[in-house]
Symmetry: C2
């Protein structure tokens, strides 16, 4: 009894077959929006109207609201009462918190990752690093950014601790937002060869080296940002015109 004839795939996008199971469809939409944010196709501050999204994805506002709420808990979108949803614009303080958290968790995970990493993992990580380099070379910044976040997340998952891996995943998503706001154009977060070097340390089982390298790696990303609190919200006119 697998007939599911009542799912109307309106909106012209029949993606990945006809498996339009509600939950999976929602998952898919969540991922679509999430990816768009992480890849900077939706910039911080962009408004996300429920009607428009409902129209685009061919479901009703009810489902969209559910997804927006989830994105809000993941801190990718900000829900302002009566004003709707918009892509979160991280503050300088949040940026610092996120990178401090990454220092603690990602570095702390490295020894365990080095212990548990297997050949399959190494192969996959190398492939991801390769695709990232390739994307960078061909100027596909969006793809490179997402692959970089995917790389860090995948790494954390090798540790076997799902709770910490989920946390790292969210931190990486938020980092992507931070890059969008405070990053310098043309200078992407991760150096192109860093990830390859990291894989090398992990392959030889040198957890402490990997930890130290990850620490430098993250510090380098953070240092590449120009974090200046832009007071776009309420510009201090007095200060600006005080001369």
């Amino acid at each position: 009894m697998n007939q599911r004839q009542t799912v109307a795939e309106r909106g012209g996008a029949d993606r990945s077959g006809k498996n339009g199971d509600g939950a999976e469809r929602h998952e898919e939409i969540h991922r679509s929006i999430s990816d768009a944010i992480i890849e900077h196709r939706l910039r911080p501050g962009a408004r996300l109207r429920e009607d428009a999204l409902a129209d685009v994805f061919g479901i009703s506002r009810t489902g969209i609201r559910k997804i927006l709420q989830r994105l809000a808990l993941e801190q990718l979108v900000t829900l302002t009462p009566r004003r709707g949803a918009s892509v979160t614009r991280p503050t300088a303080e949040e940026a610092k918190d996120v990178f401090d958290a990454r220092q603690m968790v990602e570095c702390g995970l490295m020894p365990e990752v080095a212990r548990r990493i297997g050949d399959d993992d190494l192969r996959e990580l190398r492939d991801m690093a390769r695709r990232e380099r390739q994307a960078l070379k061909s100027g596909e910044q969006s793809t490179a950014i997402r692959l970089s976040a995917d790389f860090h997340t995948r790494l954390a998952r090798i540790s076997g601790n799902a709770t910490l891996a989920d946390f790292v995943e969210r931190l990486c998503s938020r980092s992507s937002l931070i890059l969008a706001v405070y990053g310098n154009p043309g200078h992407l977060g991760c150096e192109s060869h860093d990830h390859d070097d990291l894989i090398g340390y992990l392959e030889t089982g040198n957890g402490e080296r990997a930890r130290a390298f990850m620490s430098r790696h993250l510090k380098a990303i953070e240092a590449s940002l120009s974090i200046v609190e832009e007071e776009a919200e309420a510009p201090d006119l007095h200060r600006i015109f005080s001369d």
Copy 2:
């Protein structure tokens, strides 16, 4: 308990008067349910029917669903498609992950906490520890459990890193669930004087001592559990009757 039947009978007239802002009301309900779970008044596995909750809190199912979803993302309740919501029953693996995560984050936070702690914080922490001891002595287990989780959360928040503090808060909530499933009755997680000792180390600014003590403290809690995977969900009949 109350005669809360159909508050919105006459439209918005009564709402403008009592300042019953929807968002705050939702927050309140979320907290009510959350507390009930953390305090073990709702045991793992308990079903949470939408209709019943809607009836109890006097709002419609729409609002309840929103809250249940949030609780699900916080991993306090489990949402099974078509089966509804129930209080999460953590697996042994999840329990291990949660305590490993707490080791990494809470211990890692101690030096910074020791650096930033102030007199107000110390006063408040002492008060919390005192109330916890008192609750334990008078047999109010529910209160003691919640106060213990509050203590750890409050501690993390002193670090100034909101992201990590939120994470710790969620880990503590989940720990409370873990205690409900794997804890031994009569032997609560935290020793009654541990928290006071910890405050002592923090007061003298000895971050490393505090970190080491926190590590022992968490290990002690974890050791007090009897983590045996009970396969009540889907007993493996083949394995059981294989002889």
